[in-house]
Symmetry: C3
Subunit: 341 residues, 3 copies
């Protein structure tokens, strides 16, 4: 692939040309002389002088930052991502169903879809064109999976759930398990929790990616809904009846309790949490390990995390934190006395 | 199903009767005119005027809150849960073992049990009456699973573990993996961690539910023990040798380090943690994302979480939090001076 | 096994001898009279008087703490761990490949390796001597697994990843799923996230243990690297391009964002987090549920966690925490006035 081949597919302007075909992409520091790299962050400008890369993707303000063959693009990072996809594009899988797969009655599988070994496809499920389903995945009854989606090995999709087009669902994902719903029925020391049947579904839009071992519970009665172009990292937990808006990004280990509504283009840092039955507006940014207990109504960053300290300092400080109310009272006392004199 | 059919099974008093059979349950806002809804929370009383539901389950204090056909029950939420189960009850599975399942020597499987495709049942395992085991699950050697339990697709139960009656184990669950136990054997820069063989079991009582991708480690020498009617949400981690009392509820993403003892009817909020080798008394309530580092000896709610703030406020406040010890010292200084004058 | 058999394998000094063969190990409180126990923590010295154990492993300072048959060792806890391994050692598995396993073209499986039912081994994968691969595991194309490693049931290793010798990989583990990398390509309300292909690998050294449902993402371009003798507990998430040094111990539910570099012999408490693109020096200790947002450059313990309080106290204290900046300002005001008078 030459620069001219890339711009013919992705646009942008080529300045110069590589002497031999590019074989892939690389970082500024790590690229080989057969690779193309990119400059998106100004702080790597100096490092660019030492790159072995054969060519560079640069922004319009950086068009002359190097004399190497280069592509000028409005958004060099997004351009780089798409260029990297081009180098991967040869990985086309032929359709077919492995002999060991179990296809239950009424399931419809597109002829271009690929179903690997030890896959179970439930009754009346619908598997779209060019879908890939990896070894050991279990697709429930009446599930539908849109065209061009990739389900990795060992994922589970419970009955009646829907996944849109071009989804990527990683290994270990569980979509549609029962939400956590019980009615207390105790009197004195007797009684038990009564399970509330979880009869809603999970509905996932187009262009979503669901990270490894992430879980999304089905709705209790209504559905759990994930919009379009939503990206969930690994080990995220989404409770029943959550609604997550388009283009929202949720980092690893986040837990979202039931009936939380998260807007569009929200960004959630790793291991953050949501206590449920609250809403988060479009464009909010939640810092890592922050627990959201109240609805967020304005875009901007919300944070609630104890800062790291060396342990001895922490011990000293939290001793006072445990009696901050008294400290504040003492200050008030002093202020009152001060005003009185 | 008419109201008279429901009360004949669940008790309660019917006032009026629906004109045609009910087909299911629904929320006050979402129920169709073929469904029954419920009123458990007084704040939905007003909304009840607009429900499309054909009938309502109400508490004794709300018997006249609507003129619709209704059932009066002592605990309308628990009644609703049981009514919802009635509508599901037709989902009976015939016993049988899929031809692809691998059953190792000596395993005993009740004839009413159902074993799906790609299931492995270990040697000498014991699978009770009407147990269902979903596709791709792996049941280890000598495991026993009590009657009427449901193991979803793709769960793992390691050798020698025991599960009681009427359990629900969701997809991705791992019961009985090794606990995290190593003895340090280092001198200077040499050495290694020595694995402590984990030879205990996991013993789970009756009526438990284990959420998707939850993990419960086997004991190091003694067993890890989960009581009766314990409900674990998704992605919970229970370390080796924990003991969890009856009717305790543990929300998603909670991590419990080894040798923690949790009492009965404890409620643990999402993403809370326990540092291990401590005990929590019956009836305690742990707030979401709280780290329990000391034993809890009295019922009531325990909390330790940084509140959410807008990021700019947080930055200002934590700057002082990092030197709270000095701030408290300054206040003490002032108080001393004040007393001296 | 007599004491003389143990010391012939593990060294140490035997004092006295058991009257009949030992059958296993036990705790001081729980050991049967056919078992050997150990004393590593001085606080159990008194309890030793009541143990039923037939023999005890003690440290050099405790050689006379009991009159029972005993082994004196420099590190009684590590000695105990190794002794416990001796009692397990008979669990040798014969090599072989289950008839249901699917072995893709070019895969090389050592004749002493054991491959269970419903396992998929990808094209050109390399499985070393005496490796065990449990039921339902999926090993990707070109993966290599070193000799004597144990992959439990239902683990996934994506294509091109490498695992060293003597690894233990528990059920539900996912190694090599895509890292979380997207380039924003939005203008106004239009646009989408562009996936950055994740083309690096995961490279895991020798003697590592990976806990149940833990996930380790493949690198974006360069590799994610786990050193030797690294122990990860359950439900740990390791982001793309992390580097973890030898002998580091990471407890359950820890989340490590991408490009974090963690040194050697680091100990990370449960549910701690790392925000990514930072480094942690050798020998650091991170407390449970602490979020590391800045690099750690000196060994020692780092903590940042809100202490547990009863909920009423917490409410009072955090009210002031939310305006700590103002409280500090008030104190400063008072100090200024004090200096002025």
């Amino acid at each position: 692939m030459f620069l001219r081949d890339i711009i013919s597919k992705l646009g942008g302007e080529a300045i110069g040309e590589v002497g031999r075909p590019l074989l892939g992409v690389g970082t500024v520091a790590g690229a080989a002389d057969t690779q193309i790299t990119f400059l998106a962050n100004p702080k790597y400008r100096a490092a660019l002088a030492n790159t072995d890369a054969a060519a560079v993707i640069v922004g319009v303000n950086d068009r002359d930052v190097t004399s190497k063959p280069r592509i000028v693009a409005n958004n060099p990072y997004a351009y780089f991502a798409r260029a990297a996809q081009l180098f991967q594009a040869s990985n086309v899988v032929a359709g077919g169903i492995h002999a060991s797969a179990v296809i239950h009655a009424g399931a419809i599988i597109a002829s271009s879809a690929w179903v690997a070994e030890f896959v179970s496809i439930g009754a009346n499920a619908s598997i779209g064109e060019r879908v890939q389903i990896g070894a050991g995945s279990v697709i429930g009854e009446n599930v539908s999976i849109g065209a061009d989606s990739v389900i990795a090995a060992r994922a589970t999709i419970y009955a009646h759930c829907q996944i849109g087009h071009r989804a990527i669902v990683h290994s270990g994902v569980v979509i549609g398990a029962d939400g956590f719903g019980f009615a207390a029925d105790f009197s004195g020391s007797d009684g038990c929790w009564v399970k509330i049947p979880q009869t809603g579904r999970v509905i996932i839009g187009d262009d979503c990616e669901i990270g490894a071992n992430t879980t999304i519970d089905r709705g209790a009665i209504d559905d759990t809904i994930i919009g379009n172009d939503v990206k969930l990292d690994n080990q995220v937990q989404v409770g029943h009846n959550c609604i997550i808006g388009d283009h929202t990004l949720i980092s690893g280990c986040v837990g979202i309790a039931g009936s939380t509504t998260i807007g569009k283009r929200v960004m959630v840092g790793g291991a953050a949490g949501f206590t449920g039955h609250l809403s988060v507006c479009d464009g909010a940014i939640i810092s890592a390990m922050t627990l959201v207990t109240k609805s967020i109504t304005e875009p901007g960053m919300v944070t609630g995390v104890m800062p790291q300290m060396n342990h001895a300092d922490w011990l000293k400080n939290i001793a006072h934190l445990r009696r901050l109310d008294k400290l504040a009272g003492a200050v008030n006392e002093i202020k009152k006395k001060g005003s009185a004199t």
